[in-house]
């Protein structure tokens, strides 16, 4: 007959009252810590402004928080998931003991008896074993691989894991000693404890048991009390941020103010951006506290990989360190200012972060503050001045946009009056000779497929994407508002563009200013046309690798259209190790194309090397910035061509 669980067995009579007292103390400490965290984030505000319904938040919490979907994508993350699973089960077990001992027993009822107790014992033992094995393996992995790379973080981690292991081991030790001293008959279910108990019989005393029990209790209470004050606070903060923040990087950046509203009100005393930690929103603060400094973002950041001063992890940590007491420190006078300029806003960090932090948004925040104080270097100022004077970042005459009409044999929007399709050529297509060849190829293919389109002339100016990413939100909104008026005037509804930056901004960001534009990338249209057999087979099995640009790929999820287009054209596609969602940025995004960032090797060179290693003779791009960056880095080693050029049979 399986007995009931005997609580406080073998222990002196003063044990329960002292334990409860300590438990209360630990709980009070824990709650105080939670309140402190909640206040530091401004929890209510963070919850209020978080996007998505409560149901969506819960779904995120379940998938990424409990089931650890992104965390467990790596081996060490799998160990972490096992550790968490073990702890969750042990928490459940302790709760059941609490119910049994403190809620039911006073009323003469028991829960942990008979078969329930058997199952409970089995589960608890298995969970404890999971904690010890997974925890031990994780500790071994951390020490052997010397990861995370940051020494301070690693030391903290090994201490914590070590303490957790001690907790787990003492748990089994005391179970073993107890079973050795007083067998219960539930041994088969308490398999781990029972296995340890056999050799101990006759060698252990009740005094040893008491000592073990108390050391385990004190350690456990210590953990609970200290949790919100140490790195373990991520147990609370990380699931919170997982619930609040959508996991994918956003194509659209946040809108810090509404220029039209400000112009209407005549009040322009807005200070956009993050000049000091006090400027962070509640959502930002929740994200900062969720970061565990794991360093996965660093491993994919094109700036960190290319030797620039930026590390997204350190950016997050520096901001977090200033949340307490240093919130008024001027960030713009620190190295963070130059680090913020090194960001390519590629979203790689956000896509890989297990805690759903978005460091690139923080970098843009700092840039907004820098530009609000006019702190732009020569080339940045030149680019912004070009936008101001001529409506394009090249600073070249706006009237030159008209020249494409003759080149492509298509009317401009103004000439056509209106059109089914508007080919939004963007700025590079007009002012950069290399990119103009992509425009010619695209237009040729569209015409061949019978698509009637007008082309943008001087009715519109730059879409403003680079201005927004550099932090000059006012200039972006001015350009956007004027463009929207022009598009509205000509009744434009469907736009095709070969530039993913224009695509992302027109489609996702103009919506923040009232635009309702149906925007399609040229590879989507070309893929459709290829499927309708309106485009020729221009290739003959050449080995082509597609470089997934960040704006079209990671930020907008379009990976298959360009591949299908190339495949239909007869190319033999090979995939680079970092492709689709994990593609490495070429280093041209985030406005970085227009100014210099100090690096030891251009990210484009890293990317070209990756392509060459796959034996690809051609790198296909779907973005003019990628085309230029990779083309410059590739030199003679491999050809770099746009998808449209490959479909048009250009070599």
């Amino acid at each position: 007959m399986i007995p009931a669980r005997e609580n406080f067995a073998l222990l002196p009579a003063w044990t329960p009252p002292l334990m409860y007292a300590l438990a209360l103390l630990a709980a009070a400490c824990f709650l105080a810590g939670c309140l402190r965290l909640a206040r530091r984030i401004d929890l209510r505000e963070a919850w209020r402004i978080a996007p998505g319904s409560s149901r969506e938040k819960m779904a995120r919490l379940l998938t990424y928080g409990l089931l650890q979907r992104r965390i467990a994508s790596r081996f060490n993350g799998l160990l972490h998931a096992a550790l968490v699973a073990g702890f969750v089960l042990l928490l459940l077990a302790t709760t059941l003991v609490f119910v049994d001992q403190d809620l039911l027993r006073p009323f003469g009822r028991r829960l942990l008896t008979g078969n329930i107790y058997a199952a409970f014992s089995l589960g608890a033992n298995a969970a404890g074993l999971l904690v010890v094995v997974a925890g031990g393996a994780l500790l071994a992995w951390v020490v052997a691989r010397e990861k995370p790379a940051d020494e301070r973080v690693r030391r903290n981690l090994t201490t914590t894991l070590g303490a957790l292991l001690v907790l787990g081991v003492t748990g089994f030790a005391l179970e073993a000693v107890r079973l050795a001293l007083r067998p219960t008959g539930a041994e088969p279910w308490r398999f781990a404890g029972a296995w340890l108990a056999d050799p101990l019989r006759g060698h252990v005393t009740a005094k040893l048991y008491t000592a073990l029990w108390w050391s385990h209790a004190v350690l456990a209470f210590g953990f609970i009390a200290a949790l919100p004050y140490t790195a373990l606070s991520h147990v609370l903060a990380t699931p919170l941020n997982i619930a609040l923040a959508p996991p994918e990087p956003a194509g659209a950046l946040s809108k810090p103010f509404d220029l039209a509203a400000l112009m209407a009100s005549g009040q322009f005393d807005v200070k956009p951006g993050i000049a000091r930690a006090a400027d962070l929103t509640a959502a930002d603060r929740a994200a900062l506290l969720a970061c565990t400094s794991c360093g996965r973002c660093e491993e994919v950041c094109p700036s960190a990989l290319s030797g620039a001063s930026l590390s997204p992890r350190i950016l997050v940590r520096e901001l977090r360190d200033r949340l307490n007491g240093r919130a008024q420190e001027d960030l713009l006078a620190t190295p963070l200012a130059s680090q913020a300029w090194a960001c390519n806003t590629c979203g790689g960090c956000a896509a890989v972060c297990p805690a759903h932090v978005r460091p690139y948004e923080l970098a843009v925040g700092i840039r907004r503050a820098l530009l609000a104080e006019g702190r732009a270097d020569g080339r940045q100022a030149q680019m912004l001045a070009g936008l101001e004077r001529a409506g394009n970042p090249y600073g070249m005459p706006a009237a030159d946009r008209e020249s494409l009409s003759d080149l492509l044999g298509a009317p401009t929007l103004a000439q056509a009056g209106q059109a089914e399709w508007l080919y939004w050529v963007g700025c590079a297509g007009v002012y950069d000779a290399r990119v103009r060849r992509v425009v010619e190829a695209t237009a040729g293919l569209l015409r061949r497929a019978g698509v009637k389109f007008a082309v943008t002339g001087a009715e519109v100016a730059c879409c403003g994407e680079a201005a927004r990413r550099m932090g000059e939100e006012g200039r972006f909104q001015m350009l956007a508002l004027d463009n929207l008026v022009a598009l509205e005037q000509y009744g434009v509804r469907r736009i095709v563009t070969h530039c993913p930056h224009c695509y992302n901004t027109l489609r996702n960001e103009y919506a923040q200013l009232g635009g309702r534009l149906d925007v399609v990338h040229h590879t989507e249209l070309l893929a459709e046309l290829a499927e309708q057999r309106k485009l020729p087979r221009s290739m003959d099995g050449e080995r082509v690798t597609l470089h997934d640009g960040c704006s079209l790929g990671r930020l907008n999820g379009i990976y298959e259209a360009p591949r299908w287009a190339l495949h239909s054209a007869g190319a033999r596609l090979v995939e680079m190790p970092r492709s689709r969602r994990t593609a490495l940025c070429c280093g041209g995004g985030g406005g970085a194309y227009w100014y210099d960032v100090e690096r030891s090797v251009p990210p484009a060179r890293l990317r070209v090397e990756e392509a060459v290693a796959m034996g690809a003779g051609i790198i296909a791009t779907e973005c003019p910035f990628c085309l230029k960056m990779l083309g410059d880095a590739a030199a003679e080693s491999v050809k770099v061509l746009d998808v449209a050029e490959l479909l048009a049979g250009v070599d």
Binding site: G374, E388, P397, E473, Q477
Partner: protein, 255 residues
């Protein structure tokens, strides 16, 4: 000197960087070129604002205009740090000295400036006469092509950046100084700052009759027709001989 008044003269003229000749006439296509604040004048504004940041006081911008200037340019000048702008309307004139008299009159009306700054020359005409003419009319010393300015105790110290040397000069204030490209990098106000500058005052006054006596007969872009001849594949020595042949054929060189 307490509360000094700094005056900056600036010209809003055609943006020569985007100016193109008209395809048919060869004349500058002024209609399609936007206006901007002349490059050196931007630096003068920047320098004046820096002096105000260092010594206190006020900076007032003065500009001679023949028509209503674009609001964005005024906002730009104000957003850079001018406290106010005074526009002086004058009749259009080809005479390079036409602005100076109007500017001098406007400056008289402003009070007792400690220093008057302007660009060494405007980016469209580049006559470089306005500064010295102003100094003559206002009976003040004139320092041109300044690359560095310091003021204090009623004195001006400046480095004049000449072609082959830099000249350190000093004179008593008030004075007129013209500045060149090396003196500073003008700040770039954000769009929000531009909008906020709309609150600062802009006054328009009528100017005196302008100087006459100079008439522009003709302005045409030099024609650059390309020969479009390509010399392919030859060794450098052979290519050189080919090139000389073509040049001699067209009378460009005597061989």
């Amino acid at each position: 000197m307490p509360d000094p008044l700094f005056v900056v003269c600036f010209k809003m003229c055609v943006d020569v960087a985007v100016l193109r000749p008209h395809p048919d006439t060869g004349e500058p296509d002024l209609a399609r070129a936007p206006l901007r604040i002349s490059d050196f004048d931007e630096r003068a504004i920047e320098e004046a604002v820096r002096l105000r940041e260092k010594h206190g006081g006020r900076v007032v911008g003065v500009s001679a205009v023949t028509s209503d200037p674009p609001r964005e340019l005024l906002l730009k000048a104000l957003a850079m740090g001018l406290d106010a702008v005074r526009l002086v309307t004058i009749a259009p004139s080809d005479h390079p000295g036409s602005a100076a008299a109007a500017l001098a009159e406007a400056i008289h009306a402003l009070g007792e400036p400690a220093l008057i700054l302007c660009g060494e020359g405007s980016v469209d005409g580049y006559n470089g006469q306005t500064g010295p003419r102003l100094a003559e009319l206002l009976v003040m010393p004139c320092v041109t092509y300044a690359g560095r300015i310091e003021i204090g105790c009623g004195q001006l110290e400046a480095d004049r950046m000449l072609e082959d040397r830099a000249e350190a000069v000093t004179c008593a204030l008030p004075a007129v100084v013209t500045v060149g490209g090396e003196i500073n990098t003008p700040r770039l106000p954000s769009v929000l700052q531009l909008m906020a500058a709309g609150r600062k005052p802009v006054e328009t006054v009528c100017g005196v009759a302008t100087a006459t006596g100079v008439v522009t007969l003709d302005v045409t872009a030099p024609s650059t027709s390309r020969k479009r001849i390509r010399i392919d594949g030859a060794q450098p020595a052979e290519a050189a001989i080919s090139l000389l042949h073509y040049l001699a054929r067209d009378g460009e060189v005597a061989v």
